[in-house]
């Protein structure tokens, strides 16, 4: 069971959160081509390794935040607020 650390409320069970998929995506404008639009909509990084993703503390403070998580070990490398850039993990 994942235990995620909300930047405000601290560590809580997976059940308290909603997963929002990959973070740091840039939404194209209406003028974007079909290819760019479908890439944004459907093609995600889906890495085997560190995934930059967002979660909402839905059974808590209701805030969205970012998480860097290893998709193999499920280890959490970083938790940071929405809008901040990807952290340097080295």
């Amino acid at each position: 069971m994942l235990r995620l650390s909300c930047p405000w409320c601290g560590t809580r069970d997976e059940l308290e959160f909603s997963f929002g998929g990959e973070s740091h995506l840039t939404r194209p404008t209406l003028a974007a081509s079909d290819a760019i639009w479908s890439d944004y909509l459907f093609n995600k990084e889906n890495p085997k390794g560190i995934h930059f993703e967002r979660w909402m503390h839905s059974y808590g403070c209701g805030r969205w935040f970012n998480v860097a998580r290893d998709t193999v070990t499920h280890e959490i490398y970083a938790v940071y607020k929405m809008g901040l850039p990807k952290p340097d993990l080295d």
Binding site: R3, G20, R27, T29, W37, M56, H74
Partner: protein
């Protein structure tokens, strides 16, 4: 006649001889004592055959004294019904237990199934894959299925109560053997929150089967002192009769707790640090006919003597490949069991041990292994042979040595299941011939036998160190306690577990799954040489014991046969549960009403009193219809519809999602969410809108009202309320944080009562309110705020039925009062309306029901929103997707009305529009709603039809359950197309 307990020792053991218990085994009346397990009581009564094997129906006796038992998994009835697969080696005997052998027909002692044993050469691994293909497998399946299974489904009512619990601790210690106890004692002074979990009902672990001196006192005394010390420590909690069953990510572990009779608890523990002191499991030896009743793990034999005061047999041969079994032999001997020989695979045996054997006059046969065993119903003798120089064959078979028991010790294998589940790596330790923990990504340490430290001295000292270290790692300080033992134990194992002689199809590797050496040889011959293939092809380790006594031997064999080092062969994957867990415990309280919460309307009790028949609508329990005067569903719905159309209806719409948006950018925010233009909406007015996913698909519809310049109220469908709230928050927080808007959910604050119908206004005008309900002041699609019956109210003029309609929002606490007042006022001019009537009314009006009239492929254009989209300048969620070729396709499924050509045709929701048979029948869309309209007195429907917009008036064939008939495509609006009534 008093039962004899022939094998019971007259003294010793941890049983209470003053508390006899009677029980039945296969209808035979027997007796045991308080403190017995079922297995020890059976042994005391000299019961040897307890079961038949899974595949070959071989006789099987008790082979262990612990959780690793493979044979004595019996059906036990405690008065409430039969429960199969009970591990009788760890189940306490209680008075009146009825124990049955699950297999054997007609009886466990005379089993016709033995024919399978006589023909065993046919039923090798992979047998099913090779035969039973003609005419097809299903033809044979029934027969095969009946033969499988370890017992019947539990019968009778389940009298257990199941509860979930959660727990946090700084240090979780698993296992209360010497290592775990020493660790727990060491952590007492740390102040850390420590949890010690032991599956047995007593603390002590292997010490219970043994005798030793610890800190110069008898181990029994040490255990009880330790127990008191731990119980006194406020920071330590001890759980017994509790098994850690799973080790999951982020150091969360599960425990199945059986400590209270009739109750099973499932604990989820979040531990900062975990210390595994789970001990080790003795491994069997593999030789011809090694599965006969009477053959038992050596340390189990010792446990029966020491803990339960039962001699497993009068005459017992001991066979081993390590020193530890000598203690067993001596214990047996010292308690009156004759030990004709210790058969030892090793050439060199330590002098002091030899001396001790000599003192007792027990002959040692070194460099020897068991070749075969004999006996009909129970073991009668064994034959021994000497290992050849290269160890690859045997020589000098002896005559048969008479005995009724054989204690086997192939050395120990650490209980690494939990470690491995945690993601820990195991490494093969050649000198111990077993797998030991190496490293793990989680916060876990291992101590004692679980770490391959098989001596008591090591278990104690390393346990103490590991306990304090783990507490330190969790941020607490303490030092290891001093704990010493004068009892020495040596191990000196020689890695011989498989006798290199004999008929391999009679040498068992996995007793429970009935897998023999021959199966493994065959698998390797056929190239199933990956451990994983081997496991699945032979089913080794896949039965209810999960290979606790078979995996290692199977790997050893595989390595031998493929000439690879065992370490390279690797293990199969350990998975939860460590021990099978009753599923009721895992579900806990989540059953029936607690399976998922049901949401009740604020005026629930009012609806109950007025005959509401409730149905699940998403999470809500809502009135499906009102069974007023005992009318049936159909009548009720029809009458409700007519009552509303003729006069007025009252509908409880409280579950509607209600979201308030405040702030200068509230309009802009909504404008980016809705397909519609939000910015042109005037304060006090309401608009109907659609929300799309980014993929252009309709996810919700509903109205939004502008309460003030910078204040909007959004209504969502009841089913989607939570989803839409999360959706808005996500867009705001993640995508457009710069927009100055605050989103507040007020769904449950407001109870919603809708009054609709031609008399709605007159009715409302009779109620105490400062709101002007007149058409001029409050026209269709407008909103007013004020008070009603003295409480704050918001009234929205929106209509889901096509009638003049007022949606009255009052604080939910007041909802029931308002309903009562309106109903009293209306008398027989108003009727309560259930959800089904409401849905029917909107079908007549041709209003969309998202999720019924739309599916996950329906976009905004398909329901006629092209014009609205075209008029809007700016982007909104999903807009870009509507520009794709497929979204613009002319032949998409579009929203239409439908009516059967012939009035008698029973048009039903779920029918499909189809192309004519001669064009090759193909679905062109679906009838998404259909009903007999009480208002129009004919059948009408809504649907999604290819090119539907341009096919109004066309005749189309529909298909339903094999029938076809013709329908006419119409506009979706059947009732009051001009909107006169609604706007009245």
């Amino acid at each position: 006649m008093a039962p004899t307990q022939k094998n019971r020792l007259t003294s010793g053991g941890r049983i209470d001889r003053s508390k006899p218990l009677s029980f039945k085994f296969n209808n035979r009346k027997l007796q045991g004592y308080q403190g017995d397990t079922i297995a020890s009581a059976l042994l005391a009564n000299d019961i040897s055959t307890v079961n038949r094997s899974f595949k070959y129906h071989r006789r099987r006796g008790i082979m262990s004294a612990g959780v690793e038992e493979t044979n004595a998994l019996l059906t036990v009835s405690d008065g409430k019904g039969d429960v199969p697969v009970v591990r009788t080696t760890v189940r306490a005997l209680v008075d009146d237990h009825q124990i049955k052998s699950p297999s054997g027909f007609p009886s466990v002692n005379f089993d016709l199934g033995r024919v399978l044993d006589f023909t065993h050469r046919l039923w090798t691994a992979g047998f099913y894959n090779k035969v039973f293909k003609w005419p097809n497998w299903h033809w044979y399946e029934g027969m095969v299925r009946r033969m499988a299974g370890l017992g019947n489904l539990p019968g009778g009512e389940d009298g257990n109560r199941y509860f979930h619990h959660n727990l946090h601790c700084d240090l979780l210690i698993v296992g209360a053997g010497p290592a775990g106890l020493a660790a727990a004692l060491s952590s007492v002074t740390s102040g850390a929150r420590v949890l010690l979990v032991e599956q047995d009902h007593e603390l002590g672990g292997s010490l219970l089967a043994n005798r030793a001196l610890i800190n110069a006192v008898d181990s029994d005394l040490w255990i009880s002192r330790t127990r008191s010390a731990l119980e006194e420590a406020v920071n330590v909690t001890v759980m017994t009769s509790s098994t850690v069953s799973g080790y999951y990510d982020h150091n969360v572990l599960t425990i199945i707790d059986r400590s209270t009779v009739g109750v099973k608890r499932f604990w989820k523990v979040r531990a900062k640090e975990v210390l595994l002191a789970t001990g080790a499991i003795e491994q069997p030896l593999v030789f011809e006919n090694n599965d006969r009743p009477g053959i038992m793990l050596a340390h189990a034999a010792m446990e029966y003597v020491n803990r339960y005061a039962v001699k497993p047999a009068d005459v017992m041969v001991v066979v081993t490949n390590n020193d530890s079994a000598y203690q067993v032999a001596f214990t047996l001997y010292d308690n009156g069991v004759r030990v004709p020989a210790i058969v030892d695979a090793r050439k060199n045996i330590a002098n002091e041990i030899v001396q001790q054997a000599n003192q007792r006059g027990i002959p040692i046969m070194s460099n020897s292994v068991i070749l075969n065993t004999f006996g009909t119903s129970v073991l009668s003798s064994v034959r021994v042979g000497t290992l050849s120089d290269d160890g690859k064959s045997t020589v000098n078979p002896t005559d048969e040595i008479a005995c009724q028991g054989l204690a086997i010790s192939g050395g120990f294998n650490p209980s690494s299941d939990l470690y491995s589940q945690a993601g820990g790596n195991l490494q093969y330790a050649a000198e111990l011939a077993c797998f030991v923990p190496m490293q793990c990504r989680q916060r876990v340490t291992v101590a004692g036998a679980a770490q391959g430290k098989f001596s008591l001295a090591e278990a104690l000292t390393e346990g103490a160190c590991a306990g304090s270290e783990a507490a330190n790692k969790a941020g607490f300080t303490c030092a290891p306690i001093d704990v010493t033992t004068s009892t020495t134990s040596s191990y000196n194992l020689k890695a011989v577990r498989i006798t290199p002689a004999g008929d391999s199809s009679r040498k068992w590797v996995d007793f429970m799954a009935d897998v023999t050496v021959a199966d493994i040889e065959l698998a390797v011959r056929e190239n199933f040489v990956s451990v994983q293939h081997l496991k699945r092809y032979t089913t080794t380790g896949m039965s209810a014991d999960q290979g606790k006594t078979s995996n290692l031997n199977a790997l050893t064999l595989l390595a031998e046969l493929t000439q690879k080092p065992i370490g390279e062969v690797g293990t199969t994957t350990f998975r939860p549960q460590f021990m099978p867990v009753p599923m009721g415990a895992i579900a806990g309280q989540r059953h029936g009403d607690f399976y998922t919460p049901a949401r009740l309307l604020p005026a629930h009790d009012w609806h109950v009193r007025h005959g509401a028949v409730f149905e699940n609508y998403g999470a809500w329990k809502r009135p499906e219809y009102y069974a007023t005067n005992g009318r049936d569903r159909e009548t009720a719905i029809r009458e409700e519809v007519l009552a509303l159309r003729r006069s007025a209806g009252l509908f409880d719409g409280s579950p509607l999602g209600k979201i308030e948006l405040t702030g200068p950018d509230a309009g802009e925010f909504l404008n980016r969410i809705y397909v519609n233009n939000v910015l042109t909406l005037k304060p006090g007015r309401i608009r109907y809108g659609l929300m799309l996913s980014e993929n252009g698909i309709i996810i919700d519809d509903g109205v939004f009202a502008r309460l003030a310049d910078d204040h909007y109220l959004v209504s969502t469908t009841s089913a989607n309320a939570d989803r839409i709230i999360a959706w808005l928050e996500e867009w705001h927080q993640c995508e457009w944080p710069d927009l100055e808007v605050i989103i507040s959910t007020v769904t449950s604050q407001w109870g919603v009562t809708t009054i609709a119908g031609p008399n709605a206004r007159v009715l409302l005008q009779g109620i105490e309110s400062d709101i002007d309900f007149s058409a001029q002041a409050l026209p269709h699609m407008s909103v007013a705020t004020g008070t009603l019956l003295g409480v704050p109210a918001r009234v929205q003029r929106v209509s889901y039925t096509g009638e003049m309609s007022f949606e009255i929002n009052v604080p939910a606490i007041q909802s029931q009062r308002v309903i009562e007042a309106l109903m009293n006022l209306g008398g027989n001019r108003i009727a309560p309306i259930g959800v089904e009537a409401s849905l029917l009314l909107r079908t007549e009006k041709g209003y969309l029901h998202v999720g019924a009239d739309t599916d996950g492929m329906t976009n905004a254009l398909d329901v006629g929103f092209a014009g609205i989209v075209a008029k809007k300048q700016s982007d909104f969620v999903g807009r870009r997707s509507l520009l794709r070729a497929d979204d613009q396709r002319k032949d998409r499924r579009q929203f239409v009305g439908v009516e059967p050509l012939n009035d008698n045709e029973n048009l039903q929701s779920g029918a499909h529009f189809v192309t004519p048979q001669d064009e090759g029948r193909r679905s062109q869309g679906i009838v998404t709603s259909a009903c007999f309209s009480p208002t129009l007195k004919r059948i009408i429907g809504l649907g999604l039809l290819e090119r539907g917009f341009e096919r109004k008036g066309e005749t189309v064939t529909v298909f339903d359950d094999g029938r076809t008939f013709d329908v006419r495509i119409t506009e979706p609006v059947f009732y009051d197309p001009s909107g006169e009534k609604m706007n009245a």
